[in-house]
Symmetry: C2
Subunit: 437 residues, 2 copies
């Protein structure tokens, strides 16, 4: 083996170099993947704008203390990328946006116009074992309404979520949004003898039920100090799908959603409690009806702005990752078909003598507002035609010596299999008309 | 002091908490800042599409070895965020995109359709001292043409750059693109007796001339082993603005740009060499004509794909940061005026009895394709009007008990100071017509 390698020439050694690999769980967005991300961005921008939400973004790096108090222990300590700044301070690659939102609201609380409606779509990082539906780098849509502590605000956020599903073609048979209210759960838990100091522990217990075996879950319950009677009561609450009737707030929210014809997407589920510590009111989770995978989650957080040093200001919102919604759309055959070439016109180059005419033609078409590729070197026309075919470009323009001499251009329509030669002066009108068909 | 604090109630203590601060050099994108970022994205997406470039993106995290060889020592060792993965491997927050592009091309070299035209807009990180025009987190437009090693390709990339300037309203009096060619410089340097092993050192020397005092620069030259004669020869080359006439390639590129009426933006400058080690052909830098601040830079890199383990494939491109282009647009009064409210219509809520009618009206208007805010809680109308005014929302819809009873809605046009009451059934048509005016 060694002898063989030493005999190869430099070029061959070069090509035997190992390819440098990307980071595990990070993603390459080739044009196909990027087209989906941009399509998704367009869809959620559209829904967000329709409800009057303004686009914003937080920074990608935040100090760890921003998350330390309220994001839930697991998320910060076990699932975030944390590293020391050169100054020694601990920096986090943002695992979620809500704490940044709270910090930004607190920092300009006297200038901002409330209620504020903000949305964002950007990258987030979690140090998780890569698996289907999860990656270490992911994109997330965040949408929040801050400064309105009302049931109308709660209903609006749920209407945004339902409208998004409608817009991407997911029906109530395929996805549902399960809702609960921590205020209702607090009242119910207190009424069965859970002390208020234990509430957060019990929320965590409820949140983990699906992720644990029944035995482990029962053990976890006794570890946090619940008696067998208390656990039985809690199980009773979690089995009661009519519990919402005890909550005038939930009843009213369901009424408002019903008035908008969106109630088909909504279910009540006392098991929805959400893992983040900062929720104080309604909590909700969208799920795939088949298999139950969570698509997005959110809720009301009335103390978060004051937790980061601001004046008390309530808000609510939700966050949806790009990976899970893509899997869901794929499963129900709702992925968009996107043409990956922004240009539908290719100007070919014939030879060194006529190339300047091709450059000029491409320039004229672009100036007229058309998206145009110019083949960027002189190669055989057949190769340029093959390129157009592989890129799904429909119109090929040829400027050979004959055409240049006569002031003409030949247009090949690959889709229709037609070919025509017209004066260069008419080509802009011709293409505009043909592309509009 | 202690006594005073202990006398305050909990609420006051709460508001005395220190606000949590963001990370130095990271940026909060409030809606104003975000509106510029989105506007810029739209502009460069438009230019990129017009030339037929496909959108893509790399991951945000890469292994340090991807940059180690070719990005230039300073960029990787001194200016990048590098931290150990939990497995101990060194991870980098991407300081630039070109190495990721090369890695992605190498990984799918047999499937991709060449020549490929790709563009991207996303976040990057450099560990720099925050200063005007620089931040540690910044956004960058990257655009590249890979797989065409031709002067036509070089000219196209420069045409993209010029067209972008045209599109955002920056004239050749305000900005210029200075060009050079490393192949030309190599020939010229060899001809004055510089050995080929010293070329990279001399490129670095040329790149640093503007950043150093003349004395330090002369000392640096002797440190890398140049004789006084050699330095004099180099200074002669760098003063010769007609050097491009020795290059048939540059002469031809200028000709092509001239044919497209873009030559006004272009200048030749033998001092342009660029700091990145991977450039092999033309190099260029756009600059503010007043003050000379660099706006973007790029060039040809024919060995980069093979350097990361792929087959030899040439390419070229450039990258532009969002901060510097914003400063330049600001300086020449070319910043866009953007209305920050996506909705131009506010549906107010009158009282608990009529609120459902307001919710329903907002729903109907949105279903008809209008962007509409619903005021999300029952407060005095005066407060809702003030909100609309501060958000620059033009049309306010009121549904009080009288309107609900009669099936009407009152529309206030804040800009024109008009008020009219019409049947609810006509409101969609009315608003569509008024908004189109």
């Amino acid at each position: 083996m060694h002898a063989k390698i030493s005999q190869t020439n430099n070029r061959e050694v070069d090509t035997m170099k190992t390819l440098i690999q990307g980071v595990k769980g990070a993603r390459d967005f080739y044009p196909e993947e990027m087209a989906f991300r941009s399509w998704l961005y367009g869809k959620l921008a559209n829904v967000s704008n329709r409800f009057g939400y303004q686009e914003y973004d937080g920074p990608f790096l935040e100090k760890i203390e921003l998350y330390a108090a309220k994001s839930g222990e697991e998320l910060v300590k076990e699932q975030s990328f944390v590293f020391p700044d050169r100054g020694g301070e601990l920096i986090t690659l943002r695992p979620e946006l809500t704490p940044s939102l709270a910090r930004m609201v607190a920092a300009r609380q006297n200038e901002l116009v409330f209620p504020l409606r903000w949305w964002s779509f950007g990258p987030f990082w979690r140090y998780e074992r890569p698996q289907k539906g999860r990656s270490r780098e992911f994109f997330q849509w965040n949408i929040d309404l801050v400064g309105a502590n009302s049931r109308e605000a709660d209903a609006e956020m749920l209407a945004v979520a339902c409208t998004f599903f409608k817009d991407v073609g997911l029906s109530p048979k395929e996805v549902a949004i399960a809702i609960n209210d921590r205020e209702l759960m607090e009242a119910e838990l207190l009424s069965v003898g859970i002390s208020s100091e234990k509430l957060m522990d019990v929320y965590r217990l409820i949140d983990r039920r699906e992720k644990m075996s029944p035995e482990n879950w029962t053990n976890y319950a006794s570890e946090i100090g619940l008696t067998t009677d208390q656990l039985t009561s809690i199980k009773g609450l979690l089995a009661n799908t009519q519990l919402w009737r005890n909550s005038p707030a939930l009843t009213y929210i369901f009424e408002l959603l019903n008035a908008q014809g969106l109630a088909d997407y909504i279910t009540y589920d006392p098991n929805i409690i959400r893992g983040l510590d900062y929720y104080t009111g309604i909590v909700f989770e969208a799920r795939d009806m088949e298999g139950g995978r969570a698509i997005f989650g959110g809720g009301r957080y009335n103390n978060l702005v004051s937790d980061v040093g601001g004046q008390p200001t309530g808000g609510l919102g939700f966050a949806m990752g790009d990976v899970v919604i893509k899997l869901t759309l794929e499963k129900y055959d709702k992925l968009p078909r996107i043409n990956l070439s922004p240009a539908r016109i290719l100007v070919t180059v014939f030879d060194d003598a006529s190339i300047k005419a091709s450059v000029l033609l491409a320039y004229q078409l672009r100036t007229a507002g058309l998206n145009v590729e110019l083949y960027p070197e002189v190669v055989k026309l057949a190769k340029q035609f093959k390129y157009a075919d592989r890129k799904q470009i429909n119109y090929i323009l040829v400027l050979g010596p004959d055409e240049v001499m006569a002031g003409n251009v030949t247009i090949k329509d690959l889709a229709k299999g037609l070919q025509t030669t017209i004066p260069v002066s008419l080509v802009v009108d011709y293409l505009h008309k043909t592309l509009d068909e």
